[in-house]
Amino acid sequence: MHQNDSTRRQFLGLAGGAAVLGAVPIVTMRPAEATPAELASAIRSVTGGAAVKTGKVKLDVPPLVENGNTVPLLVSVANPMAPEDHVRSIHVFNEKNPQPNIANFYLGPHSGRAQVSTRIRLADSQKIVAIARLSDGSFWSVSVEVIVTLAACTEEVI
């Protein structure tokens, strides 16, 4: 009896180990997608390594998206649009689409209001980051988490 008990424990231990080992390739073999490292390097190519502060920027995206093929996105920056102090550009990134970039928008003091809206694609539930560059050279950002039930981009065409 005692003997049986120990082999059962060993068996379960082995099975657990195998399950863990089996899970590793699944994680590494996910389809092509931008990794957090790619997101960071895409952000760095915009900021040039400058510090990015949190605030000022607002991202309006539905928190629960049914269809990732068309997701309304509205980005706005709470900053005056005067010649001496305005938003120069807004950059939108994602974490898990095949590419980290979504769009870059270039504005100026004549814009009047730093607000742009468009429709985007999302391949997975993920984080979206918006970064605004002001005329004084500072960067402000915001990030939102979005849950996507039907993914875009990578589905098969029949």
């Binding site: 095949p98 769009a103 504005l107 004549h110 814009s111 981009c153």
Partner: protein
């Protein structure tokens, strides 16, 4: 034939902040999709959009495959003078489309 939809107020007071809405019909093929036989469908997207107001560029956007089909973009500008808005979309495979709208500023 691609076609554009533009929404610009016909009239505005000088100094008003007006919203401009644009839509260009385009497939925006990402280049990440496959056919059933495993071939990659080549990328075909609009990469750049620009708007000029009486010849001066007031808005520009770089687009990526993450933009949904039929790119819809809205933005704001200050109405300064009567005249013309010119819109331009440039993309893969020599895609190039223009559209224009006029405004009366009082």
């Amino acid at each position: 034939m691609a076609s554009a939809l533009i929404n610009v107020p016909a009239k505005a007071k000088r100094g008003d902040i007006i919203e401009i809405k644009t839509l260009m019909s385009h497939i925006m093929e990402t280049g990440f999709r496959h056919t059933a036989t495993g071939e990659v469908i080549p990328r075909d997207i609009i990469t750049s959009f620009a708007c000029r107001y009486n010849g001066t560029e007031i808005f520009r956007a770089d687009l990526f495959p993450a933009i949904a089909a039929n790119p819809f973009i809205t933005f704001f500008t200050t109405a300064t003078a009567s005249g013309k808005f010119e819109f331009e979309w440039i993309g893969d495979n020599g895609f190039s489309e223009t559209a224009s709208a006029s405004i009366t500023v009082e």
